[in-house]
């Protein structure tokens, strides 16, 4: 509501409408019908008769992201899927929330070692509630939704300005999630036939010590060529814990 943002500080109008809007939003959280992996079965189980998610007004699973309020990332996010997931997140209209369901969506879980697995959904989209478990029980997901409801209750449209950490640190690194992302045309085109196969890089050591290299947090990550990095110097310098834009 653009009207409310004209106020500089909270007043009786914004706080009372806050109450109404937050009440409405928290009681009508429509999840996106977005089953990624194993946890999707438990997510469905949550919506089914035994643990009826519809009791909380959250049982309407929308097929289109345009009508959804909350995205339940239910399962492992592979690097191939990460771009699609980000796009779905950006297609959802504001206000929107994300629940990371299960160990894989939180950190990569049992597939942390894998070469094709994103280390948690929060590397590409902001996550509000984490529901641990592999997979979490339906009760745990319901608890996650209720936690999200509590979080929504505390939201306000206009608030006193609080001192916030700077967006950019001294080195010029961005500290917050920035939705700017280049979409490349990923086409499943024809492979290079026999003559093209020789050009592929054959040897690569895939390392994950501590935090991943900064470029890896982005979707469409290409592991840096060890030869190139030596030539370019600090172009792809890994192990920046905050990640760069």
């Amino acid at each position: 509501m653009g009207v409310m943002q004209r106020f500089n500080e909270p007043n009786i109008i914004t706080t009372s409408t806050d109450k109404l809007f937050n009440w409405a939003r928290k009681n009508s959280l429509w999840p996106l019908q977005f089953g990624l992996a194993c946890c999707a079965i438990e997510m469905m189980s949550t919506g089914m008769a035994h643990n009826d998610l519809d009791r909380f007004g959250a049982g309407f699973f929308t097929a289109s992201p345009r009508q959804a309020d909350v995205m339940i990332v239910s399962g492992t996010v592979s690097t191939k899927m990460a771009e699609r997931m980000t796009r779905l997140y950006e297609q959802m209209p504001e206000p929107k929330w994300v629940i990371a369901m299960g160990a894989c969506a939180i950190s990569g879980g049992p597939f942390l070692d894998g070469y094709s697995v994103l280390m948690g959904a929060d590397r590409v989209i902001p996550v509000d509630v984490y529901v641990p478990g592999c997979p979490p029980r339906p009760e745990a997901l319901i608890f996650g939704i209720m936690t999200l409801q509590k979080k929504i209750e505390r939201e306000s449209q206009v608030a006193y300005e609080r001192p916030r950490p700077a967006l950019v640190d001294e080195d010029g690194n961005f500290l917050e999630y920035l939705p700017e992302r280049e979409y490349t045309n990923i086409s499943e085109g024809k492979a290079p036939r026999l003559e093209g196969i020789g050009e592929l890089k054959r040897t690569h050591v895939f390392e994950r010590r501590g935090m991943p290299p900064a470029a890896m947090t982005d979707v469409g990550w290409i592991p840096s060529d060890p030869d190139n990095t030596q030539e370019d110097g600090a172009a792809e310098e890994p192990a920046d814990p905050r990640g760069t834009a």
Binding site: M1, A24, R25, S28, D52, G57, A63, S64, R66
Partner: protein, 335 residues
């Protein structure tokens, strides 16, 4: 004196129009709630029960949330068409309520061509579907719109044909006349002599209201929302409201034409000006059967839908028209 002014023409019309709009919007909200509750009980669940007493405030929460939701319009969309489509869908669904008699004397406009008005206005709804699908410029919505156009235009034919029997019997196109002609107990209602037409109107009405098994334009599991795949926030809410309003409208017309409108089942139960209770009860019954079918049946395919419409419903209508006409010719004393 002061109240008499309200009964004068411009004021009377404006007030009743406001009342109808209020009724339609509330009907949509109540029907969403009813839909969720009915589906829940069919599916061995409870349905919404946390918001307000027994979950009755759930539609209010939904509506306020949709009000405050961002309204996304795709960058490649045809913006005017995209934004006008929900309105083009909602207005016909609301306008036909003007000619429906709710109780003796309680009708906003007693048109003498009310049935033609109904037919003409409801066919605008198909235009809204096409606009929504074309304007969103998405493959899914385009498919939904094409399906919607084909389906709604095809099922208009049996819908209109099934009304003709009643027009012949009544000799009038006014809905008030139709209701008055059914006075004197439920055996005088038209669903008995016009039983095939009653069924055809019911089925074609399901298709007109885009309900399962004819919800191909939406086809949630096929084209994930069809023509409304790109709508969000209030525009989506308006589309939903018009869907539910048109469902209520089809039920109300169905009741008015075949189930005696506000006429009580037997004369002893006549409630005078409170006869709208009968009208409401009958409409609610029809709506419940709509919802019952919605949560029980699978969806038809496009070609099967067309086959059913043109090869089954239309011939049935035509045959029964001839039967009705023949009966009126041969047994003029009865009719």
């Amino acid at each position: 004196m002061s109240l008499d002014i309200l009964n004068q023409e411009p004021f009377r019309f404006l007030i009743s129009f406001g009342a109808i709009l209020f009724l339609v919007l509330n009907l949509a909200a109540v029907l969403t709630m009813a839909e969720r509750k009915v589906s829940a009980y069919i599916q061995l669940r409870y349905g919404p029960n946390r918001v307000g007493p027994r979950g009755l405030l759930q539609p209010a929460a939904d509506v306020f949330k949709l009000f405050t939701k961002e309204n996304v319009s795709p960058s490649r969309a045809d913006l005017w068409v995209f934004l006008l489509a929900p309105i083009a869908m909602f207005i016909p669904a609301a306008a036909v309520w003007l000619v429906i008699p709710f109780a003796p004397g309680a009708v906003v406009a007693d048109l003498n061509i009310a049935i033609v008005f109904f037919i003409a206005i409801t066919s605008i709804g198909a235009l809204g579907v096409i606009m929504a699908g074309y304007g969103s410029r998405s493959n899914f919505s385009l498919l939904g719109a094409l399906r919607g156009a084909a389906q709604m235009i095809s099922y208009e034919v049996p819908l209109i044909l099934s009304l003709l029997g009643i027009v012949m019997l009544t000799g009038s196109l006014s809905l008030v006349d139709v209701v008055n002609a059914q006075a004197g107990g439920f055996w005088h209602w038209y669903f008995l002599p016009q039983l095939p037409m009653f069924v055809v109107f019911y089925i074609a009405g399901l298709a007109e209201a885009r309900r399962v098994p004819f919800d191909l334009p939406e086809g949630e599991s096929e084209i994930s929302g069809g023509f409304m795949v790109e709508y969000s926030g209030m525009t989506w809410a308006l589309i939903q409201a018009s869907e539910f309003a048109s469902m209520g409208l089809i039920s109300a017309i169905h009741v008015t034409l075949f189930l005696g409108g506000w006429q009580p089942p037997i004369d002893a139960l006549d409630l005078g000006s409170f006869n709208w209770i009968w009208f409401g009860l009958k409409t609610a019954l029809i709506i419940f059967t709509f919802q019952w079918i919605r949560w029980t049946m699978p969806r038809l395919r496009m070609d099967q839908l067309m086959d059913f419409g043109w090869k089954v419903l239309v011939p049935v209508c035509l045959i029964w028209l001839f039967v009705t006409a023949g009966a009126m010719l041969l047994l003029p004393s009865v009719f």
